[in-house]
């Protein structure tokens, strides 16, 4: 198969789904603004930006795995575990926060390698969705368990006097722009460079798009998979660390269900659930849409019973759109 035409085809389809997404988000924002003008207040927009930043990392991580044809269900647990690890390293060993962050990233990378290794070993060279599902679900449970057992449910609280520098990455602003959104934009550029301008990226699309073809072409499929799972856990760890910095403490109960939020954002952003498609920019738009809806419902004082119905319907719409898109392409 000709790779260039494949890629341009992907890009053209996605460009279309991205413009729809921007359009939908804008319409919603105008609607929320009309209903509640304070939706567009600086403090609320900051609020939205901060949470887009926080959740953006894990969604971008999940994107790599989804594009490579896998799935990572450990996101939420990794967020909780790495957040705790960060707080633990800081409070117990008094490490400089940059060093602690590096250790957390290394540990997260280790977990990712573990995922990638098992997914590859359990299923060469067949479609690997079921094992990926199980392996990451297994680690998800294990790390949630570790988080709970380790802390007995208590949060690890960090003192403001000592760690105010570290807190800055979660709660600080440059001008009026929250730090997390700035970091996530940097990560977005990096993700774009890896995925769309490097050979590795082309291989990731190939592995997810057509596994057998990728093997035949001589792509080191397993290495690519390991890399994707590694990026996913590293990015989830960034979300965990940012949340710890934001809350000034780490809670073992944080992050339940974040994997679904990440997957929803990805699918909304045009990532195909069977792999081979998706762009970082789209994923970020997906995150923005989800956060805008969640925030808008709160600012409009909508009954909380309706929130989950709306988010659930959104996921269904996204999955249906993904399905229709594939169907149309096949015919």
């Amino acid at each position: 198969m000709a790779k260039t035409s494949y890629r341009s085809q992907v890009t053209s389809i996605l460009l279309r789904s991205e413009s729809t997404l921007i359009f939908a988000t804008l319409i919603l924002m105008i609607y929320f603004y009309k209903m509640q003008p304070l939706f567009m207040s600086t403090s609320n927009l900051q609020n939205i930006a901060r949470w887009v930043g926080t959740y953006g990392f894990m969604a971008l991580g999940e994107m790599f795995v989804l594009i490579s044809g896998g799935i990572d269900l450990s996101v939420g647990s990794i967020v909780a575990f790495t957040g705790l690890l960060m707080a633990y390293l800081l409070s117990t060993y008094n490490l400089p926060w940059v060093l602690a962050l590096l250790i957390v990233i290394l540990v997260a990378a280790g977990i990712g390698v573990f995922h990638g290794f098992f997914v590859s070993k359990f299923s060469p060279p067949l479609p690997q969705t079921v094992p990926a599902f199980l392996v990451t679900l297994g680690t998800a449970m294990a790390f949630r368990g570790i988080a709970q057992y380790w802390t007995k449910g208590y949060p690890i609280v960090l003192s403001r006097e000592k760690f105010v520098d570290f807190f800055f990455i979660g709660e600080g602003n440059i001008g009026i722009v929250p730090i997390p959104i700035i970091i996530v934009l940097v990560i977005l550029v990096i993700a774009f460079l890896i995925l769309n301008l490097s050979i590795i990226g082309r291989h990731i699309y190939a592995v997810g798009g057509n596994l057998l073809a990728a093997i035949v072409t001589g792509i080191k499929v397993n290495r690519i998979r390991v890399l994707c799972y590694m990026l996913s856990t590293i990015f989830s760890a960034l979300t965990g660390v940012i949340i710890t910095a934001r809350l000034n403490s780490a809670y073992p109960g944080v992050g339940v269900g974040y994997e679904l939020e990440a997957i929803t954002s990805c699918v909304l952003g045009g990532v195909s659930l069977i792999g081979g498609e998706g762009l970082p920019f789209g994923v970020l738009l997906g995150v923005i849409l989800v956060v805008v809806i969640e925030n808008g419902l709160v600012t409009m004082n909508v009954s909380p019973y309706l929130h989950r119905i709306i988010i659930g319907l959104l996921l269904l719409v996204a999955v249906t759109a993904d399905f229709l898109k594939r169907l149309r392409r096949r015919t």
Partner: protein
């Protein structure tokens, strides 16, 4: 995982108990006297003039009164009791219940009763795991079970099964009113919510924020859990007649990060808010953070639940006005003591002794403490004296 460790420990201690069964039989004379009335009661109600010499603890189906048989008629046999306490999840809240139950066990031991208390929790709320543990306790012939059902309806058949096996069952923390449980020991969450409401009125008054039609935000971690709904209902029943308006509650599904996001969004959308109520332990601190960041300290009265370090710090700083602290220690403590007493005296006698108006009323409200900056020190001394883990200072 904690549960497994506890089970293991309990198994070891049980094995030890069996090997020392002989010694127990010898010390029966001494211990029997110490056990006093209860032992006497048990002795007389047991099989008359029994000739069986071995004490068997592990018979599962009969109630303890009939299996612990006296060596001779005149000497009462001490009770050897296994009491199981089942919590909901690994959480600081439940470690306090654990300490309360263990403390009750120690005190009973000092009084000469051989009581072994097993505390078990799943690592997160897990209905099947709770049912399984109940089954295990029944099969192992426990003499009493105190359970905090994560699902009050799912637990009904197991409670029935235990009662049929003559094992007394009470609920703690969360009731299962439709079951045949003998009693419920716990916070009346509606009353606790009302207490929070009164604290809110007091706060608004004292901070000079009282104003008809003022908005109050509510944040919770669950829209289905009874405790959350009852607290909100109790709270609204106090503040709404006083002329305040409650916003739709926001729900974070027990995620502290989401809780902060929602608190900040609520504040941004309601600049005229004058009060905030946090239903779950981390909701109060989340309100405090959001209020502080919005620069509105002193302009919003916050009332919260529970008394961990995170809850107390903002009270000390004067950001949160009051917290409503549950007395979960006493759920474990009285739970174990009540179950022991039921074995000693017979179920009805013990229940009538403990619970006012039993059997018309089967609920024992352990009550709440409303803690503010003023009474923080007293509260600290009290909690400390009970041996609860306290990670804060007044």
């Amino acid at each position: 995982m904690v549960g497994e460790r506890d089970l293991l420990r309990k198994k070891i201690s049980r094995r030890k108990a069996i090997t020392t069964a002989g010694k127990i039989a010898i010390s029966a004379v001494v211990a029997g006297v110490v056990a006093g009335v209860g032992g006497y009661y048990a002795g007389t109600s047991a099989a008359p003039a029994a000739t069986v010499t071995k004490t068997v603890v592990s018979t599962t189906t009969a109630p303890p009164r009939t299996i612990t048989k006296t060596v001779t008629k005149s000497v009462a046999k001490p009770l050897s009791l296994k009491i199981g306490v089942i919590g909901k999840s690994v959480h600081p809240y439940w470690s306090v219940v654990d300490i309360g139950s263990k403390r009750a066990g120690e005190e009973l031991k000092k009084a000469g009763l051989d009581v072994t208390v097993t505390f078990w929790v799943p690592h997160k709320e897990d209905v099947p795991a709770q049912l399984k543990t109940m089954d295990t306790f029944i099969a192992e012939g426990y003499n009493g079970i105190a359970v905090a059902p994560s699902d009050p309806d799912a637990i009904i058949p197991v409670i029935k099964k235990a009662l049929e096996a003559k094992i007394p069952v009470i609920t703690i923390d969360t009731d299962s009113p439709k079951s045949e449980r003998l009693a419920y020991l716990g916070t009346d969450n509606y009353q606790a919510g009302r207490a929070a409401g009164h604290a809110m009125l007091e706060a608004l008054e004292k901070m000079g924020l009282a104003k008809k039609g003022g908005k109050i935000g509510i944040a919770t971690g669950s829209l289905t859990a009874r405790n959350s709904l009852e607290r909100i209902r109790g709270f609204k029943d106090v503040v709404e007649p006083a002329g305040y308006v409650c916003l739709e509650p926001v729900c974070d599904y027990e995620d502290a990060a989401k809780a902060l996001e929602l608190a900040a969004s609520t504040l941004a959308a309601n600049p005229d808010m004058i009060g905030a109520f946090g239903v779950y332990a981390y909701n109060g601190p989340a309100w405090a953070r959001a209020v502080k960041e919005a620069g509105k300290v002193g302009k919003i009265a916050i009332v919260e639940f529970d008394a961990t370090k995170e809850n107390i710090e903002p009270i000390k700083e004067g950001i949160i006005y009051a917290t409503v602290a549950q007395r979960q220690y006493f759920m474990g403590y009285y739970g174990v003591k009540l179950l022991t007493l039921m074995n000693q005296w017979g179920w009805d006698t013990a229940l009538k002794f403990y619970i006012p108006r039993y059997p018309a009323n089967k609920i024992y409200d352990t009550g709440v403490d409303v803690v503010t900056k003023e009474n923080l020190k007293e509260y600290y001394e009290e909690v400390k004296a009970r041996g609860e883990p306290v990670d804060w200072t007044p």
